[in-house]
């Protein structure tokens, strides 16, 4: 088990940002401890190499929260983070986002790519991603998903990166984020207004010299990133400057960022945290409701289930699309990160309960009828997150009601696949049908 050394450092970073840079109100609590969801999840995103979509009104700290977290955790001075950001606007081009031909070399008849800072550094921020036209969003699909950036015939692969994208609410200048791109984001969070009193303090404490700026190291890093050395070599050199900036932060702010090796160790520690049986079963139950269709075998966004369906009390009846396989991966990564951050021995129900709404909110396509029904309900969260929170609590309640029986059903499933002759347990929830399908007790519909 980890000794909590890294967690203490990360907590200190959380407290520093919360107290000095991103003033906010706590809006979630876990195990009796209050946190601000935006800051907490941004921190986890930076730690677990995740992808986060931050929505909110203009000027409420969407981009700055990501910049601070990325700068401190990865130890890049703020100037470099700013210089690497990609802003979403209709005229954006692949050359500005990913890379461009080296014009000098091109004149000599040679193809050579000059990679953008965005493609190279591990902290990637796309500002106002939904101002990118839908056709141009496809340009960053692979990069967002795997860290593979291709230009001309060259390819650059990021071994380690975290992606933060911000999005404004819909207005005349925004576009819809295409489904394949939005599914690639692990979490959706909102950067909220901190309330009038805290907002007043922000206005009062606005500063000129930012503590995370360091012009000299920024210059050195720019020089390295613009250089002609191979990517791996450039990253090794950049890490040296990051070490120096880390020392500077420690001296000036009392903060210890994380070196590349340390971030790797943290990820290994996180991956070792197992889900306990309840967290495991709850996630399966959730996935069943988000993928099951009694009539068509599975949810498909092109097939709408009927009103009279037996399963009309479950989420599957209210949604159009099917949960992708990225959903359980996001749940796993973030629940493990949260458990690690809280220094727990494993992932339990509380971790999963907190995480699920944020990994779900942007992925579910609700039916229009359901949206109109829920639209007028009073809430504190944006509509998408509110619906996801409601859905998560609904499933959690169902899980609590039938926990013992469901675990028994899974155990029977285990024995059936192990070769024992058993009768699968019957139940009203789609998960029981899924278990039967897995053990071959239910015939697939003939084609």
């Amino acid at each position: 088990m980890q000794n909590g050394h890294y967690q203490k450092r990360v907590r200190k970073i959380y407290t520093y940002i919360s107290d000095n840079l991103y003033l906010n109100r706590p809006d979630v609590a876990i195990k009796g401890e209050p946190f601000n969801s935006t800051l907490l999840l941004s921190l986890l995103t930076a730690l677990n190499r995740g992808k986060e979509l931050i929505m909110g009104e203009p000027g409420l700290g969407k981009t700055t929260s990501a910049e601070y977290v990325g700068s401190i955790i990865y130890r890049y001075p703020l100037g470099i983070i700013w210089g690497s950001e990609v802003s979403g606007h209709p005229e954006q081009t692949e050359e500005k986002i990913i890379g461009r031909p080296d014009l000098g070399e091109l004149n000599k008849g040679r193809e050579k790519v000059v990679w953008s800072n965005f493609a190279q550094i591990p902290v990637k921020i796309v500002d106002e991603i939904n101002r990118l036209p839908e056709t141009k969003q496809s340009m960053i699909l692979n990069g967002v998903d795997r860290g593979n950036w291709e230009y001309l015939n060259e390819i650059l692969i990021n071994d380690e990166y975290s992606l933060f994208a911000t999005a404004n609410y819909q207005d005349r200048g925004t576009n819809t984020i295409i489904a394949p791109l939005i599914d690639r984001f692990d979490v959706l969070i909102e950067s909220r207004h901190p309330g009038s009193n805290i907002a007043y303090t922000i206005g009062k404490e606005a500063r000129v010299n930012h503590p995370l700026r360091h012009p000299q190291y920024e210059k050195e890093l720019h020089h390295i990133l613009r250089g002609e050395k191979p990517y791996e070599e450039k990253m090794a050199l950049a890490e040296g400057v990051c070490d120096l900036f880390g020392e500077y932060m420690k001296d000036q702010l009392g903060l210890e960022g994380l070196a590349r090796g340390e971030r790797g160790e943290i990820n290994e520690e996180m991956a070792k945290l197992d889900f306990d049986i309840d967290a495991n079963a709850l996630v399966r139950m959730m996935l069943a409701e988000l993928s099951f269709c009694h009539k068509y075998g599975q949810k498909r966004s092109v097939e709408v289930c009927e009103d009279g369906c037996h399963y009309s009390g479950y989420l599957c009846h209210h949604i159009k699309n099917c949960a992708s396989n990225r959903l359980p991966m996001s749940i796993r990564n973030y629940a493990q990160s949260l458990a690690w951050f809280l220094e727990d021995d494993g992932v339990d129900l509380e971790h999963v309960r907190l995480i699920i709404p944020y990994v779900l909110a942007h992925r579910i396509q609700w039916k229009d009828s359901y949206l109109s029904k829920k639209e007028g309900e009073g809430r504190n969260d944006p509509f998408q997150i509110y619906l996801a929170k409601e859905a998560a609590e609904e499933v959690f309640q169902r899980y609590n009601e039938q926990r013992e029986y469901l675990l028994e059903a899974f155990a029977v499933g285990y024995r059936a696949i192990d070769g024992e002759e058993v009768i699968p347990l019957e139940g009203d929830h789609p998960i029981y049908e899924e278990i039967k399908r897995d053990i071959g007790a239910k015939d697939e519909k003939s084609l």
Binding site: I277, L407, E408, F410, A411, Y414
Partner: protein, 232 residues
């Protein structure tokens, strides 16, 4: 292919303990200890399943009961549970109302609560000797009917019977108050030296009363001109 239910290999046999389980478990443990104390009393005092009601046997039984319940942490609710266990439990094959009453009285007298309420309306048997030696800081309220020798030796406490009692109620009481909502039997207040006995209904007959006051339907019937104190 790997078994997708691997994590649930042993799941069906494991039960999650919820707070209610813990409470029930602790309640069961307490009741079990109380029942053990009662069994010990029966073994000592009613070997042949016969218990003769004599003043000396009651005193002895009470002292054994006190020893049997030493170290048990219980509440008034546990006493009520015990009363029902006496009536229904397989653990106690014989309910002997005398020792049972002494034991319940000892439990009440040593309980932490100052007010103890026992809901005994649904009991099939009527427990004797309830309220024996009830001390001055206690109030015992019994909902339902009780048996013989209720409140004997009452020592300053307040015993309220929301029902009827039988014979020898309040016998030998020294101080305190017994309130009976309905009726009482013969020899009521026999040998009582102090305190008050108030009966809402009828008293079939008074015993030889030395001191104190007895009321029947709000009327003072002892002492009065017709019934004088008895001197043993």
């Amino acid at each position: 292919m790997k078994n997708p239910f691997e994590a649930f290999h042993h799941a069906g046999t494991r039960k999650r303990e919820i707070p209610l389980d813990t409470i029930l478990k602790s309640k069961e443990e307490t009741l079990s200890k109380i029942l053990t104390g009662y069994e010990d009393l029966l073994k000592n005092e009613a070997k042949d399943l016969v218990w003769l009601m004599q003043y000396s046997t009651v005193i002895k039984a009470y002292s054994i009961a006190e020893k049997g319940m030493e170290g048990i942490e219980y509440t008034a609710e546990d006493i009520e549970e015990f009363c029902y266990a006496l009536d229904h439990s397989d653990q106690i094959p014989y309910l002997i109302t005398g020792p049972a009453g002494v034991y319940i009285s000892a439990l009440c007298n040593h309980a932490q609560e100052e007010e103890i309420r026992l809901q005994l309306r649904d009991l099939n048997v009527k427990i004797n000797l309830l309220g024996y030696r009830l001390p001055s800081n206690k109030q015992l309220i019994v909902e339902g009917n009780v048996g013989d020798f209720t409140g004997i030796g009452l020592d300053g406490g307040e015993l309220i019977i929301e029902g009827s009692g039988k014979n020898y109620t309040g016998a030998g009481m020294k101080q305190g108050k017994i309130v009976v909502r309905h009726n009482l039997g013969f020899n009521t207040g026999h040998g009582m030296t102090g305190g008050e006995l108030m009966v809402g209904g009828r008293i079939k007959g008074l015993g030889k009363i030395v001191g104190g006051k007895v009321y029947e339907k709000d009327q003072l019937i002892f002492p009065n001109e017709g019934i004088k104190p008895f001197y043993f």
